[in-house]
């Protein structure tokens, strides 16, 4: 069984935020306004945070999304099992099960789960531009990055219809696909021959806030001190 993982090379990332835009568009996230940002209710599944990294003079931009923890604190507290670790290591979020209690948003140490305070709205001209493979979450549920799980489902179905196995290039999340600096690599961590497995085991690899024991499957790379 695959264990999907994402490697982000901070030495390559330019902080351009193309990934943020791609994610919003891919996953039907509504626009946010300065007012929603002011009250901390921005709707984004991935954002750049300022991170103090050893050996760097100032803070670095670190793309932060759900870390798809192997020991996720968020799933432990969910009273309805709306969020759980699926067999392939993706922390899923089942919207019609979510009662919006926000226990999980509080339990997540990375603060990457967001609550729909309002019904999402888009300009009328965008009505036909939604991704049909992704639902539009209603008011009152929590949502987050799923490693574009819908892409995995479609890719697997296409490979099966063509009578072949899933190839590594078949399934790539939108952020990885868009990154102009090629700072992100995605793949199966359980495959010893995959690029992600090699990079994750390399000397530049580290995990964000790994001391918490969450065992993230997002791995960052940077040059040592």
């Amino acid at each position: 069984m695959a264990r999907w993982g994402l490697v982000i090379d901070l030495d390559r990332c330019t902080g351009c935020q193309a990934c943020v835009v791609a994610c919003k568009h891919e996953n039907n996230l509504p626009f946010s306004t300065p007012e929603t940002a002011d009250v901390g209710r921005m709707m984004t599944w991935i954002g750049l945070v300022n991170a103090e990294l050893p050996g760097r003079p100032g803070p670095s931009a670190l793309p932060l999304m759900c870390q798809q923890c192997d020991r996720p604190p968020c799933t432990d507290v969910c009273p309805t099992s709306a969020t759980y670790l699926n067999p392939e290591g993706i922390v899923a979020q089942i919207y019609p099960r979510c009662i919006g209690c926000r226990y999980c948003t509080n339990a997540c140490p990375y603060a990457v789960k967001i609550f729909n305070w309002t019904t999402p709205e888009w300009p009328e001209s965008m009505a036909e531009m939604h991704n049909p493979d992704v639902s539009q979450r209603p008011k009152g549920v929590v949502e987050k990055c799923t490693f574009c799980h819908h892409r995995l489902i479609t890719a697997r179905e296409k490979a099966r219809a063509a009578g072949r196995d899933l190839a590594p290039e078949d399934y790539v999340p939108a952020c990885v696909q868009i990154c102009p600096a090629e700072a992100m690599v995605f793949g199966d961590l359980s495959d010893p021959h995959s690029d992600v497995a090699a990079l994750a085991g390399g000397p530049r690899a580290f995990r964000w806030m790994e001391e918490l024991g969450t065992q993230p499957k997002v791995i960052y790379l940077r040059e040592g001190e």
Binding site: I90, A92, I94, R97, S135, Q136, H150, I153, E157, R160
Partner: protein, 161 residues
């Protein structure tokens, strides 16, 4: 008087629940299409995505005119035939719906799953009139009982999006 209060309240509650629990009135389709008559051509000739796509699709007149050069004798008037063949879309009413949070793909079920259309849509080959409501009531248990029986994925995220 008071001794009637309880039965009256019960009667009112039952009446209200009864009215709301009634199935909605059947939808009137724009054309009296006879599935039974067309059954020999198979479902996919008209519902083209049913085997190879996520959505099965509902046919428009260009599908009819592949076989019918002129208005069929029954089921549709000459005027309506002229209308639809000159580009006016047929306003079919959808009877089988899944909620937005369900990621259903026909190809996955008819291809990989080798499921017959009738499993979810009933035996349409016997129907002489278009369905006014979904022939089979689909609930999560309909899906899950089959997934369990067939050993298909029971991972919530496999079907919910």
């Amino acid at each position: 008087m008071q001794r009637y209060a309880f039965p009256v309240i019960v009667a009112v509650v039952v009446a209200v629940v009864w009215v709301f629990a009634l199935p909605p009135a059947p939808l009137a389709q724009p054309i009296a299409f006879n599935h039974a008559k067309h059954a020999t051509v198979g479902c996919v000739l008209c519902h083209q995505g049913a085997a190879a796509g996520a959505r099965a699709g509902i046919p428009q007149a260009d599908t009819c005119t592949r076989c019918h050069a002129t208005a069929p004798g029954r089921g549709i008037s000459e005027a309506a035939w002229t209308d639809i063949t000159s580009g006016k879309p047929i306003a079919w009413l959808r009877v089988t719906r899944l909620p937005d949070h369900v990621a259903f793909s026909h190809r996955r079920h008819t291809g990989a799953g080798q499921l017959a259309c009738a499993s979810c849509h009933g035996d349409m080959t016997q129907r002489t009139a278009p369905p006014g409501r979904a022939p089979v009531r689909l609930v999560m248990d309909t899906c899950l009982s089959c997934h369990k029986r067939e050993g298909a994925s029971e991972d919530c995220a496999g079907c919910h999006r």
